[in-house]
Structures are given as structure tokens and as C-alpha cells.
Symmetry: C2
Subunit: 210 residues, 2 copies
């Protein structure tokens, strides 16, 4: 199931209906503002089914989390598998994240916004989960291969993906009105070239030295 996508089988099984309904509701209202009854109604299932399948509301959130994390991981892995430079891999990841923010908004929103500590008490935070580790690895490899500037691993990864992730947040919050894909080229340009002006006016050069 590459790239977070998955052509759902025609007759959606019960599990799937529950997860889909829950995802939509969780994203729209927030985990704690959704009751099991809400999910039940939206999924056209009985409460009993929900408890049979997932053992409760937390169970749903948990399953959803691991499922999406897994799709996310496969997406990254498929990028790593391609024959690209690590810099190109970074760009590809950003491109895909932007695309999926547009086409599968709720998936991205759930993974990004959800405070997993609230329903996965002793789970490590999402930033240390494998897909994010894989993203850091790409950057790290890029540094070792001389394609990417030498820098502390955390700083490098945060710089490479931070701007894009920020754009995604702004888009999800409805602050940015245009599709993210429109911004892709400029985002990667700024990312690799830095925010220094191409030609620094003489008058500013001294002050900017700092």
C-alpha cells in the first residue's frame, strides 16, 4: 500500500467503517469531544461491535494511530527505495506530504495534531516514531554523502522538514487558502538556498554580518 493510499475493497468491512468514521469525527471535533455513540451512528454499527473489535474508544484511536503510522512508514520507505539522491528524497517526501495534505487531509491532520500521549499513555511521542526516524536518516545519509550541509542531525532534519511541516499546519488550520502543491517549488528553493537574498545590498552587508 504505497504512498498512504489504499484502494479500499468495495464492500467495506466493519473494522474499516469504524476506523473511517472515527477518523473523520476525531479530526473534526477532537478525540474527547466524540463519544462512542457518535462513532457508532456514523459507522452504522452497533456499540457492541465496536467493543468487540477494538475494546473501546481508546482502542479505536490506538488502532487508527498504528494503522496510519504504518502507511506513513511505507510511504517513506517507498521513497527510500527509489533511485534518487538523498536531497531528491527529501524533496519527494515533502512533495508527497503536500499532496496528501490536499487529498487525504484527515490522515495528515490526525497524525500531526493528535496528542497521542492522551490516549497512548506510555507510547513514545510521534516524533520519535519510525517514519520520522526514517526521515532523519535520509537527511543524515545526505550529510554523509556530502549532498547536504554538515550540521547537527536534529538541526538538519528540523531545517529540512520544518518549513514544510509548518506550511502543512497553516494549511490544515485554514490559514493558507491555496493548495500546498502550488507552493512546493518555492518551499524547496528556500530550503536549500537559504533565506539570504541572492544579492545583498551593500548597505545591509555590515549589519547582517551578525
Amino acid at each position: 500500500m504505497p504512498y498512504l493510499t489504499r484502494n479500499a475493497p468495495k464492500p467495506e468491512p466493519v473494522d474499516c467503517r469504524i476506523l473511517t468514521a472515527a477518523l473523520d469525527l476525531f479530526v473534526e471535533r477532537g478525540f474527547h469531544n466524540v463519544s462512542v455513540h457518535d462513532v457508532q451512528k456514523n459507522a452504522n454499527v452497533s456499540i457492541g461491535s465496536i467493543y468487540n473489535h477494538f475494546g473501546g474508544k481508546e482502542g479505536i484511536a490506538k488502532a487508527l494511530y498504528y494503522h496510519l503510522l504504518n502507511e506513513f512508514e511505507e510511504m517513506i520507505e517507498s521513497v527510500v527505495a527509489e533511485d534518487l539522491t538523498n536531497r531528491q528524497r527529501c524533496n519527494k517526501v515533502i512533495e508527497l506530504l503536500f499532496e496528501y495534505t490536499e487529498s487525504r487531509r484527515n490522515i495528515i491532520s490526525y497524525m500531526l495534531h493528535a496528542k497521542h500521549r492522551e490516549f497512548l499513555p506510555d507510547e513514545p511521542p510521534i516524533c520519535s516514531a519510525t517514519p520520522f526516524k526514517a526521515m532523519r536518516n535520509i537527511v543524515q545519509q545526505g550529510i554523509e554523502d556530502g549532498e547536504i550541509r554538515q550540521a547537527d542531525p536534529w538541526v538538519a532534519a528540523a531545517t529540512v522538514f520544518g518549513g514544510a511541516i509548518r506550511m502543512i499546519h497553516l494549511r490544515l488550520d485554514g490559514v493558507i487558502k491555496e493548495p500546498l502543491t502550488d507552493y512546493y517549488d518555492e518551499v524547496v528553493d528556500c530550503l536549500w538556498q537559504g533565506m539570504n537574498p541572492l544579492v545583498l545590498p551593500e548597505s545591509k552587508k555590515r549589519q547582517a554580518a551578525r
Copy 2:
């Protein structure tokens, strides 16, 4: 009250005790996992007082939000008031955000993590709030003055502050172990110079062209 700081008056008034207790609890457990009784106990106040002062749990969250937003705004404004280039202002904002992530962790955490849509139904998302607007303005001014690379306003602002904000998230989640202030220099370096290696190996130049 500059820079998010405020030397509290010795005998803390009731309102203040409630807000402080609520902030700590909200950050630690999440808004929905905190009951009014919890706040009451932690603040050494009665439930009645809470309802008299803030009208309920949402009222507390709301007051807290506006209060901190205000402090945040004053912090930005004080930076704008300084006699600096806009680039230096950006750096200063990042520096201060890093410092306060270390010294006043909960404030930053509340503003960054809290899903305000959940208790402020018809409030615009925080990213469009005035302090963030002010940050974008600094970048915009920098562009117009030729200190900062020409780019779409959203992209420029996201690139300038995205990496730093990402670092803050990682630090708040406990993924980064060292104080953020240790990373400041490298973060701004990467930000302004971009992630291209200073010397690109010949072998990579062709591929990296993309």
C-alpha cells in the same frame, strides 16, 4: 511585562492561582483530562470561586489563552521596537522562543499544543493571531528591505520560523535532550545559508540540479 516574563506580586491573587494551576494541569494531562475539581484542589480554591471568576473550565482555558497570547504579543513587539535589521529581529525572536521553551516550558507548550478550536469554537486558529502576524510582518519587511530573499510571504515566514518551531516541538516532546539554546547558532546558520553543502562534490552536482 516584556518577554513573556512577569515578576509575580508576592501575595498571588485568586485569579492568578487558578490560572497557574490550570496551566500546569492542562499541559501535563491535556485539557479534557483535567476536571474542575482537579484545578480547585491544585489552586487551593473552592469550586464556587472558579465559577465566579471564570464561569467554568472553558472560561479558564479562554482566559489563559488570551493572557498568554498577550504576553507573546508583547514579546514580539518589544523585539520590533529594538533597533535591529529585520533579519536580526527574526533571530532574536527565535532566540527568545528557545529561551522560554527552557525556562517557561508550560507557557510555550500550552500555546503550541492546545487545540484552541476545542474550547474557543469560533476563534481563529492561533497561527492567524496577532503575534504570528507580527512575525510574518517582520519577514515581509525584511524582504522589502532586501535583507531577506524574495519569496511568497507564507513560504518565507514558514521557512524562517519553521525549523525553530520544529525544534521546539521536538524539545517539548522530550525527543531532544539538550537545551534548545545550545542549538541556536546552528539553527540560524542553516536557516539563512540553506542546506546546500558549502562545497558540492563534483559527482553530485549533476544529480542535485533537479
